[in-house]
Symmetry: C2
Subunit: 208 residues, 2 copies
């Protein structure tokens, strides 16, 4: 076939990524064979290798895409201006996580990438950079919460941001690994820890 439109090329790439994502969610990165991916995409071997150099390149592309989605969502919510109360921002974040958990497999792919990052330096670098940035935004949120009197102002905001970020990651893991948690109660648990009475739960947010 002769020249094909740019849009067509992008669509094909997306088609492969979608198919591979399904395969990876089903069997993991390394227990998925190229034949699995290619069959799921409804393509031929040769067609695949026109769009990706190797299996490794495919995995990295998917990891980058999914982690990038996570970052974009997190950044958007953490940098809202003016900053809502911390508990509300956390609630927003968990709501997005719930969506990404059920709709596409973004979050579940991310957990698999964490496992890869333990031993693969390239994944480790990707995660370290992007999650470091997200945590930085959580720190910025903490700082603003200090400025407007939500939190004690005389302490370093960095550890507060780390704790907030940790709570988010903990929610993801419990949803993915154990289940039996829901956003609303998790947020209420954080609220209790933060000393908020049960009556001042975060208000429902207009997003989504």
């Amino acid at each position: 076939m002769p020249r094909v439109s740019e849009a067509h090329l992008a669509a094909r790439r997306e088609q492969i990524i979608d198919a591979a994502t399904r395969c990876f969610l089903r069997n993991g990165f390394h227990q998925t064979s190229m034949q699995d991916v290619i069959k799921e995409a409804g393509l031929s071997v040769g067609a695949f290798y026109r769009y990706f150099d190797s299996k490794s390149a495919l995995i990295k592309a998917i990891a980058g895409e999914k982690i990038g989605i996570v970052q974009a969502t997190a950044d958007h919510l953490l940098r809202q201006d003016p900053a809502p109360p911390v508990l509300v921002v956390i609630d927003d974040l968990l709501r997005q996580i719930d969506i990404n958990l059920t709709d596409d497999g973004t979050v579940r792919i991310a957990v698999q990438v964490w496992g890869e990052a333990v031993h693969d330096p390239e994944f480790a670098a990707l995660i370290s950079e992007i999650y470091g940035r997200i945590r930085g935004n959580a720190v910025a949120l903490a700082r603003r919460a200090q400025e407007n009197g939500q939190l004690a102002a005389d302490v370093d905001p960095v550890p507060i941001g780390a704790a907030i970020f940790g709570l988010i990651q903990g929610y993801i893991l419990q949803r993915v690994l154990i289940g039996e948690v829901d956003r609303e109660s998790y947020v209420s648990g954080i609220g209790t820890l933060m000393g908020a009475g049960p009556e001042d739960r975060p208000p429902r947010v207009t997003t989504g």
Copy 2:
């Protein structure tokens, strides 16, 4: 050799598990070949298959062992009687995590198991059961904290336990994936979130 002592058998098994753990930390479960493991253990192929039925059985044995260590440690600290303040218990837990991160690879293997659990039902069942139990103990801790007035008594302790457990998992992930966190500051961040002033940091604990 004829009958070999029970101790010898157990030692050989442990020798294989130790070697495999090193390999898995270096290259992950599925990118480690049996030849890698066998060479690292200084054994022959045949000798290995005398102790484990398959590669899959080896991985599951290691996963079970490491997750079991995590459970034993967590249970011990979460069920201390009388229960120290929540922040102190968290501090104890993070201290153990730090030890397991640097000494052996228990925690790093656990993160890899999380990634497997996303798509492998057997891993998922293992994690779900054990982590569910740990979280249950965190809930019990929260309940006792309510009883002695540390936390609001008029709310469900389950979400509080989930949040505490989430903070722990978040610490693990940040240590393994991003770095740039240390136990002391993370705990201080939690303390700030919990409304504790900076002067009442948790006292050093006698354990360990």
